[in-house]
Amino acid sequence: MQLKKTRQGAGPRNIRRQLAAATCGLLAGTSHAGGLIASGDNWKIDSALLIYAEKDRVSLAEGILSISKEIDDDEFINARIVTDVLTGSSPNGAVPSNTAQTFTNPSGNSRYTEAANTTPLNHTFKDLRNALSVEWDTPLSRSLRGTLGGNISREYDYLSTGISASLAQDINQRNTTLTFGLSLNKDTWDPVGGVPVGFTVMPAFPAKKTIEGANTDKTVKEILFGVTQIINRQTLMQVNYSRGQSDGYLTDPYKILSVLENDGSGNLRGSNPYVYENRPDQRTYQSLYWKGVHQFPNENVLNLSYRYFWDDWGIQSHTVDLRYRFDFDGGHYLQPHLRYYQQGAADFYRQTLIDGEETTLPYASADYRLGEFVTQTIGLKYGYEFKNGAEINFRAEMITQKGKDRSADAVGILQNQKLFPDNEAYLLQGGLSLDSDMVIKYIMSFFK
């Protein structure tokens, strides 16, 4: 394979801008929009389309358009619009059984039946989400930058609004950047059929569930401290500590638990065998995150990160993410991606309840996302950088999730069932980045 020569097709002004970005504010870690570099008077336009499909479950199409502009010397604004369409099925929390199971839809207006020996899925998910975020990034002094951001997203049953702010202080001849960030989010659930009271039964259709109201909300506050350090001419590292607190309704209003007979048989209890889950109304979580970026003499780039995450629900996780970019002649590159995620279960994670436990336990959830599992991702990205600075790229990835069954929950006949709903998903993404000047030139070419 022929390695490519260094390409500097972005033009001298863009190179100056990139040098300024690398020199003055290693801001990429402080926000999602960080790292976007608008060139001079033009708008920088980044777009992507993602197709995500789980085997026999959820499918999603998501489009993003991000535009950035330098509005003054070294001062940038960015706006990002996201739309996604989701359809398909999601595990409802109940365990498989050796007989068919009938559930009431969240609306309470119909019911559905799942075959014996299959993971019970709620098939009613169909959602359209629209999101907008804006960010303003400005120098506050020769060595201090500030970023302000806001975001809003709307789904059929969920509204999320938030603001964030961060400061980045360069020290040590601008080889070190200290970052400090804060964010506040206010989310509102407006679930179909209302907010069920935790641990109350999912009534058989046409009876209605017991609700505590039509909607509910939660607040999420986060704080981040980070250090970004230039190690040498080819290596950059970042370490972040972040802490967050969620208060309010943290339960999933659509998830239920199976309730078993109290005889060790593993049979569902005779009447009302499903109850709505119930989680604590507060969660504090923390994470330590490390990332390193290194360029080898052959111009290939390693991007490696590790995150340790823990919370007061008893969840701990380790995430390793590796991207390695091979550069080839003519602007082509290939980037394999590997990700490994291992999570321990929440203290109140249960795959089943025994008759009566719903009145004695403070909390319980069978949401597989709170269980013990491993996620593995393998993917490959191909990109092509045009000489004028534009880029087009594609990637394909496979994601597998495999979890553990709790032996205490797999009693009687359930020992023959797979209680954790393993998952397999495929991801396809296409991306295009260009400058507004290129778009105008292209459109004008039709009128010549």
Partner: protein
């Protein structure tokens, strides 16, 4: 134990900043390349974070904010 090790790494990186040979602005040509940014492709990272946020109990670490969703 893990927390102690990681906090030690955090502190060491801060302290090591003082002992490293500073890289001068005119030597930052490689660091200025797009592929050398900590987030080289922000949209790809955004899509990944959204995907894993909806499938796992952990999220964040790289940044603050970004919004929530009632994901399934």
């Amino acid at each position: 134990m893990i927390k102690i090790a990681l906090f030690s790494a955090f502190i060491s990186l801060v302290l090591s900043a003082c002992s490293l040979e500073p890289v001068q602005p005119w030597d930052r040509d490689l660091l200025a390349q797009k592929k050398m940014q900590l987030v080289a492709d922000p949209l790809e990272i955004y899509l990944d974070e959204h995907t894993y946020f909806s499938k796992e109990a952990s999220s964040g670490g790289q940044s603050v904010g970004g919004g929530g969703c009632g994901c399934n």
